[in-house]
Symmetry: C2
Subunit: 233 residues, 2 copies
DNA sequence: GTCTATACCGTGATAGAC
DNA sequence: GTCTATCACGGTATAGAC
């Protein structure tokens, strides 16, 4: 067992997994993304990892807990990066070296998503797909973990967005953040409704291209004047 | 898919299921939404429906095919309504009695979604949740069906959006439609990322309230000037 | 502590009797 | 059309080897 220095906050290594556990994690991640959570059996995972079936229940508690470990391994560095970006923006804004506007706040979470999408060694775009599935399937245990450990991250972004959109109520701010997050996640995840209908004219593979189209959409949506139109004047 | 007379368009009956099959369909729909696709066993469905286990494989081919039947029963009337709204808008626009702009086009698919969300007898908001799961999980068989039977619907909306946003390229039009559909679906489905982090200030139960917040966001996003900002000037 | 073999029960699917 | 019996496969738990 190695000692880990506490000074490297924000870019942690992966100290706590044995080699067997790591082999399971990596095979599981690949298969979960490829086949989906329910379609991948523990027997397939352990076979591809070259370990015994019971090793999963020894190193992790259950298949669900294994999935949570796979998720947390990719999510936590990313979430730390999102937090660090926001803190850096706030510091630079106080120092007068950066503008504190909606685009700057949005880019604080878009930049880490972009970096993650381009880095296969951290799961790449595949992890974002996994994340979007978590969002839709509403995992109970994962919701508890995210709420306990990372709820403050959402609170920070809500406060930041409230500062750059001063004319809006707290509820409207929450809606803008909700919709802005939602559209970015599903765009990065490639959840394309046009593709579902076989009519995808969108080439959603290049992360930079995604950002190019999503960011203007989100910024315009966030800055929209609150109103209600139903098409019947 | 057979051609339907224009008189019953949008409000079709359900002629082709026996009473046993219908009991299975309704129990399955309730449980799929409540517990998720994989978490609901055929034994639970047939028990609540008061039929034998093997009846599912007799009336439907498999559990997957049962799910597709559940989905199609709710989706098809809705898709017909979306098509009818667009055709009505085009007719009224040609007659000079309606404006043909982005808001009018967006409302053509928002209005049916709103009506569906408010009508428990057609699955209500629960069906939209089911639909969002289909979108993310990328069902193979369902994708083939949607592409074959309803691809033209997406084509029609793409053409309509291209008419009201004349300054944009075909690829940009596809992106706007993709993002606009995406954000509306997940908003109606209640796929709230803030809720996943235990920080939901959004009360997303009232469909009218959803429309009130989503439509301005989508319209602003669709009308945004194409540009690229990365926060580093 | 780490790993393995194996048994248990619930799942979807199917064949064949009625 | 409906039902019973049976199958292979899934996640899980445990006893025991090293």
């Amino acid at each position: 067992m190695k000692t880990s220095s506490p000074s490297d906050a924000g870019m942690p290594a992966e100290p706590k997994y044995s080699e067997t556990a790591l082999r399971i994690l990596e095979a599981a991640e690949r298969l979960f993304v490829e086949l989906g959570l329910e379609a991948t059996s523990l027997r397939l995972i352990t076979q591809q990892a070259g370990v015994n079936l019971a090793a999963v229940n020894y190193h992790f508690r259950s298949k669900d807990a294994l999935f949570e470990a796979v998720f947390a391994r990719r999510f936590e560095p990313w979430a730390r990066e999102c937090l660090r970006e926001l803190e850096r923006l706030e510091a630079r804004s106080s120092a007068g070296t950066a503008r504190f506007d909606a685009e700057a706040v949005v880019m604080c979470y878009v930049r880490p998503a972009l970096a993650l999408s381009k880095d296969p060694s951290r799961g790449g775009a595949l992890f974002v797909r996994l994340f979007s599935r978590v969002l839709v399937e509403n995992h109970r245990a994962l919701r508890e973990t995210l709420s306990r450990d990372w709820g403050h991250l959402v609170t920070r972004y809500t406060e930041a967005l409230g500062r750059v959109l001063p004319g809006l109520s707290a509820e409207e701010i929450a809606w803008r953040l909700h919709l802005g997050f939602s559209v970015m996640f599903h765009a990065f995840a490639g959840n394309d409704i046009l593709k579902l209908f076989g009519r995808s004219a969108v080439s959603a593979r290049d992360p930079d291209l995604i950002v190019k189209h999503v960011v203007p959409f989100v910024l315009a949506g966030m800055g929209a004047a609150p109103r209600f139109g139903d098409g019947t004047p």
